[in-house]
């Protein structure tokens, strides 16, 4: 499949920090690509950069951000607005605050179609009811007349998903869509997203901090750490043979079916995400890395670890942690 969205060497900086440092990724049509990492690693900022929805204090630059053959970097805010919600839709983590408390569900859904398709209110509400039914909301006609505060968190997130699908987008960016939900509801919403992605042939860029979700949902994964993609490749291959010490650490923290032995304690990565200021060089993970060496303070390049599988570390792909000190 040809890439629908491709980002090359994206950098985003704020006055006091470098949030994203040279991220490249490719999203193919009909595939789910997970962006995984701890909070503060730059995954949401990368996603917002694509939509040009960064806070005003952020400075964005890149070699290119392409949607098909259109360069999003060259687009004016007005041109971007016509693309957003139509070809590229996005849903957010907090279904509570992401909806306007003053307007009904129907109004907030219908306005997307009215804007992008010049649909009448009637047509737009019909489409909204159809999509609400599709995301598993019963009595859609009644829901359209309700306000966000009258719905549960799970219903609100389903409604957000339905709103994002109003114009049949090609790309859906979902920024931790289930993090704020109850565990039982999380699972339902993920199943729904997976189902819709396959039925509608969406290219889904799913942001999460949970490798369990990656394993369930995605074909492709990019692991981010301290503003960089440290490893990227097919999910199956990365779960089977993680290469970057950070990816290995992350996978050690969660139970993976068929990989984790019963009774064996789960791991954790000591320390926290470093603050990356201007002029930071080398591997961002070196302070927490069990294999850190002096050359880790120098710029690290990408290495191949198999077909479509890259990692950013000086070590060979089959490195082993030396057990004897």
């Amino acid at each position: 499949m040809a890439p629908v969205l491709s980002i090359a060497n994206l950098r985003v900086s704020f006055p006091r920090m470098e949030a994203v440092r040279g991220v490249s990724l490719t999203l193919r049509g009909g595939e789910t690509h997970c962006l995984v990492g701890e909070s503060g690693c730059g995954k949401s900022i990368s996603a917002l950069s694509v939509m040009n929805l960064l806070p005003r204090s952020a400075v964005r630059s890149a070699d290119h951000i392409r949607f098909h053959e259109h360069d999003l970097l060259a687009m004016s805010e007005r041109q971007m607005a016509w693309l957003r919600g139509d070809k590229i839709a996005m849903i957010f983590q907090e279904p509570m605050t992401s909806l306007n408390p003053a307007y009904t569900i129907g109004s907030q859904m219908a306005e997307v179609l009215e804007r992008h398709r010049r649909a009448s209110r009637r047509q737009a509400l019909d489409r909204a009811a159809e999509l609400l039914a599709r995301v598993g909301i019963t009595a859609p006609g009644m829901r359209l007349a309700q306000y966000p505060h009258q719905l549960s968190g799970g219903l609100r997130q389903r409604m957000m998903i339905a709103t994002a699908l109003m114009c049949d987008p090609e790309v859906l960016i979902a920024d931790e869509p289930t993090t704020a939900l109850d565990v039982t509801v999380q699972s339902q919403v993920l199943r729904l997203l997976r189902k819709l992605q396959q039925e509608m042939g969406l290219a889904l860029l799913l942001i999460t901090h949970d490798f369990g979700i990656v394993a369930r949902m995605a074909e492709h994964v990019s692991v981010m750490y301290a503003g960089e993609v440290v490893e990227s490749g097919p999910v199956e291959q990365i779960i089977k043979a993680p290469t970057h010490p950070y990816t290995r650490g992350l996978l050690n923290c969660i139970p993976v079916p068929g990989m984790t032995k019963p009774g064996e304690p789960l791991g954790s990565i000591p320390g926290g995400v470093p603050h990356i200021g201007r002029g930071f060089l080398g591997c961002g993970f070196r302070e927490r890395c069990p294999m850190a060496a002096r050359e880790c303070a120098e710029p690290v390049h990408l290495h191949d670890a198999g077909e479509d599988h890259f990692y950013r570390c000086r070590l060979p792909p089959d490195w082993k942690l030396d057990a004897s000190p």
């Binding site: 929805l53 971007m80 996005m90 306007n100 408390p101 003053a102 307007y103 997307v112 007349a145 709103t163």
Partner: protein
């Protein structure tokens, strides 16, 4: 089904607010009675500086001022409840007639002031919020600061000198034509603009930072829709409340403005009756302005309930 539910919650909301308003009205009735009766010997003030002790005794007797305060209060309150606000000592006509006669002038002036204030304050507040921290924002805030510092009567006199005497564009007093409303309306508006503008600005700044604005942008909506539909409606609630209060201030503040521009409204009546010790009129005007305040607050609450569905329950 939905409409029935909506109407029933709205009605119960209105009844609860009406009940509260009635209680406040009663409190104001008691206080306005107390204040006039505590402000000194009423009989002596009515009789004037040259009256003898015998005159005062007669007045005390005639006006029933020798009765216990409680009896006097219920007598007065009973009459007020029937719409009888007493007779003016000065004009020898019923007070209610005096107020009714002058009320349309004051209301027209207050509304003119309100419209001018909103036309200036809302757009400037919104623009300042959209350009927060810029030179435009700072300039607008500087105007607000100046507006707060300038007293209304002084501005009124300046305007009279400039537009009335030098340029002769507008009449310097009276309301014989609609042009007579412009200067006093602007002076009234001027006092309300800074508060309205600041509140619009701060409300819009807060609303524009909200997550639902990011959602609206992610939906690709136009800037106009985002600002005027999604942000303004959420920023509007405190603005509506302060607008009601400001209209109350304008109607009350028209005492000064109406006397500067010689506009024959309720405010001018109040000023006349205060200077001439016409107590029934003073008492009635105070009560009347208080009721207007309460009515405006009630109106603001109801408009807020229309704006924010979460308040209706």
């Amino acid at each position: 089904m939905h409409l029935v539910f909506y109407l029933s919650t709205m009605l119960s909301f209105i009844f609860r607010r009406l009940w509260l308003s009635a209680l406040v009205c009663l409190t104001v009735l008691v206080i306005s009675f107390m204040l006039t009766h505590l402000s000194g010997d009423l009989a002596a003030s009515i009789a004037g500086p040259n009256a003898t002790a015998a005159d005062i005794a007669i007045i005390t007797k005639n006006y029933g001022l020798d009765r216990p305060l409680v009896v006097q209060f219920f007598d007065w309150a009973g009459h007020v409840a029937e719409g009888d606000l007493g007779r003016s000592y000065l004009f020898h006509v019923p007070v209610s007639g005096l107020i009714r006669e002058r009320l349309p002038v004051t209301l027209a002036l207050g509304l003119t002031g309100l419209i001018i204030a909103m036309l200036i304050a809302l757009p400037l507040g919104i623009i300042a919020a959209m350009r927060e921290g810029s030179a435009i924002d700072r300039g607008i805030m500087l105007i607000a600061l100046l507006g707060q510092a300038v007293p209304g009567f002084w501005l009124g006199l300046l305007l009279i000198v400039l537009f009335g005497l030098n340029l002769q564009w507008l009449p310097i007093s009276g309301i014989d034509t609609w042009k007579g409303y412009i200067m006093p309306g602007f002076v009234l508006a001027f006092s309300a603009i800074p508060a309205l503008m600041r509140l619009t600005r701060s409300g819009m700044i807060e609303a524009l930072c909200a997550d639902y604005i990011r959602t609206a942008r992610a939906k690709g909506l136009s800037t106009t829709t985002i600002v005027l539909k999604h942000a303004l409606r959420n920023a509007a609630m405190p603005v509506v409340s302060i607008t009601a209060v400001q209209l109350g201030f304008m109607l009350g503040g028209s005492v000064v403005t109406e006397s500067v521009f010689a506009v024959p409204g309720v405010g001018y009546l109040a000023w006349e009756s205060i200077t001439k010790n016409d107590f029934p009129v003073v008492q009635a005007v105070v009560l009347f302005l208080a009721v207007i305040y309460i009515a405006l607050a009630l109106l603001a609450d109801m408009m807020n309930a229309l704006l924010d569905p979460r308040l209706r329950i």
